[in-house]
Symmetry: C2
Amino acid sequence: MFQLSNLLKNPIRWLGSDGELSDCVLSSRIRLARNLVAAPFPHAASQRDLGLVLEKVTQAAKKSHALARAAYIKLSEMEKVDQRFLVERHLISEDLTRDSHNRAVVIGEKELVSLMVNEEDHLRLQILLPGLALDRALEQAQALDGELGRGLLFAYHKEFGFLASCPTNVGTGLRASCLVHLPALVYTQNIGAVLQELARVGLVARGFYGEGSKVYGDLFQISNATSVGKTEQEFAEAMTAILKNVRGHEIQMRERLVKGAAKTKTLDRLWRAYAALSYCRLISFEEAMQELSWIRLGFSLGVKFDHLALAKVNELIVLAQPAHIQMHAGRELGPRERDSVRAALISRTIKGKGQ
Amino acid sequence: MFQLSNLLKNPIRWLGSDGELSDCVLSSRIRLARNLVAAPFPHAASQRDLGLVLEKVTQAAKKSHALARAAYIKLSEMEKVDQRFLVERHLISEDLTRDSHNRAVVIGEKELVSLMVNEEDHLRLQILLPGLALDRALEQAQALDGELGRGLLFAYHKEFGFLASCPTNVGTGLRASCLVHLPALVYTQNIGAVLQELARVGLVARGFYGEGSKVYGDLFQISNATSVGKTEQEFAEAMTAILKNVRGHEIQMRERLVKGAAKTKTLDRLWRAYAALSYCRLISFEEAMQELSWIRLGFSLGVKFDHLALAKVNELIVLAQPAHIQMHAGRELGPRERDSVRAALISRTIKGKGQ
C-alpha cells in the first residue's frame, strides 16, 4: 500500500538546483483545467456525480503512460495533517481539502505529474519541473491531456474553448506559474515596482501558498491572470520572456549587494543567516524561510558555505513546513515542538550532517 | 620607553575567570582618594600647584614597593584615542582626560595597581582584582597608602577624616566597587527590584563606564554611595555580604532559565549568540557585549562551547571596546571599520583561532 511518509524520502525533484536559471526561478508549473461533459461542475454536482467523475478519471489515468506507477489517494482516507502535507508538497491545493468526499489526487512516480479530481474543476492536471521550464512542462501537460482525452469527453465550446468553473480558466484552461526567488529586489526595496510591472502585463504575483497567502523567504508565485486570448504556447513563451526579464533585474540588484562598501554588510547578513540556521534550537517556519533566503542568495553570489549544497537548501524550503516537520517526526506536534524539531532538522542539514 | 600598545599583549588580570564568585562578580576595585596639604584641591589649584603635586607624588611612588617597575604617563603626552584606551582599561577615569596639563597616571606592572594624579583629588590610588575580593583589594590599597604616606603629607581632619574635593569622598576616601554580571536578573526582569534594594542599603549601580553611563552586556558597576560613617573594613565587609546576596538572586534566576520548558528557549538564545559572534562580519560594541553576556551565562549553566575558554570571553569584554579595537588595528578607524575589525577579532577568538 502507498505510504505518504515514503514521499519524505524522495528528493524534491521540482526544486532541483540544476534547472535553467534556478538561481532565481525555483520551479515551473503548468496546470490544465478540464471538465467532463458527463457531470455538472463540482460546485453544482451531487456526490453521485462526483463519484462518477472520480471513477471515469481514475480509469482514464490508469491507462495513461505518464501516470504509470502513480499513487491514487482519496482525500476522505487521509488525516488533515496528511492533506496539509500534500498541500505543502504542491501536489494538491488547499481548496481540494475543504470537502473530502469523492475528492482525490493521483501522484505520478516522481511527483512531477499529478491530477486533482473534483477540485474547482473535475480535473486539474499539473506538471511541475525545476527551474524555468514552462515550455517543457507545457509539452508534458499536453501529452498527458491527450492521453486522458482519449478516455474522457471534455466540455469544450467551439468559440470559448475548454469550459471551466471559473471564467478566468475558460479557454485554454491553462495556468502557468513559476516559484521565483527575489531576495535582492526585496532587500533593495525594488520589488514593488517589479510587481506593478508584472500586473501591467497580465501576470499576478502571489505568496508562498498561492492566492492571498503571505510571502515567505522572498519567494513569489508568479502566474498568468487569465487563460483566454492566446494559445498555450504563446502564454508559455510570453511568460518565459517576462521571467527572464525579472531575473535580469534581480541579478543586477544582487551584484549591487556585493559592490564596494555594501559587500561587508551583505556578507555579514549571509553568514549570520548560516550561523543562526546552524546553531538554533528553536525556529519558526517564517524565520527559517527568511534565513534560507539569505543562504540561497549567498550561493548565487559565489559564497562557499562549508559542507552545504544548494540542493539541500532548496529541499529545506519544503521540508521545514509544518506538516512536513510532523511527518518527519512521525506524529502531530504543537507549534513549540515543531519549532524544536525544525531547528534540529535544519541545523543538522546546514552543518552537513545529513537529514 | 613605555609603549601603550604593549598593554594589549597583557592578559587582563582583573578579569581572570578564576576569581571568587567570578561567574557573577567579574572584578573588585578599591579606590582611595587623598589630597596633599601642600596645595589646594585640583579644581582650585594653579598649574604650578598641580605641577608641584605631580612631582611630589611621582617621587613618593618611585619609592613604593607596590609600584616597582610601574609606568609613569603624562596625559599631555598622549593622543586622545590612547587616553580613551586607558579609560576602557579601567586605569583612568574619563574625568582625568578633560584637561591633560599636569595630569598623569602611574600604572603598576600587572595593571592591578594604579594611581591617578590630579583628577578630582590630588591622588587616587586603585587596586583592581578579579572576582569578589574587596577585602584583599583593601589590604593592598592600605599598604600602598601607607607607603605613599611616608613621603607625602595628606590632608586629614581629626573629626571628618581624609579631606576630599567632593563631600561624598570625605572620611575614609574609599570607594569600593564591583563589576557584576546579572544577565538572568535582567532577562527575567527582576533587575529593577534588585537595584532598588541596593539603593536602600547605600549602594549605587552604574553602567559600564560609571556614573551616568549605559549598561552594556548586563554588566553593572556596584559601589558605595558615600564614604563616611564606617571604617574601611566595615565598608568592604558589608558590601561583600550584599554582593553575595545579589549573586544568590542571580544564580536562582539562572537555574530557572534551564528548568523545564524554558531550557530549550535558553539554549536557543545561547547558541545563537555563539553563532552570531562566530560568523559576524560587522558588529557594534553594544551588540558584542550583549552576545558575550549570553555566552558568559552559558558557561555558568555548564554549556560547553567548542574551543572556547571563559577567560577569552571575559577578555573580549575589554578588547571589543572602540579604542582597544583601534589599538589592535594600529590606527584610528571610523565606526564602520571598527565594527569590521571587531567582528574579525571576536569571530577568530570565539572559534578558538586565537586573537
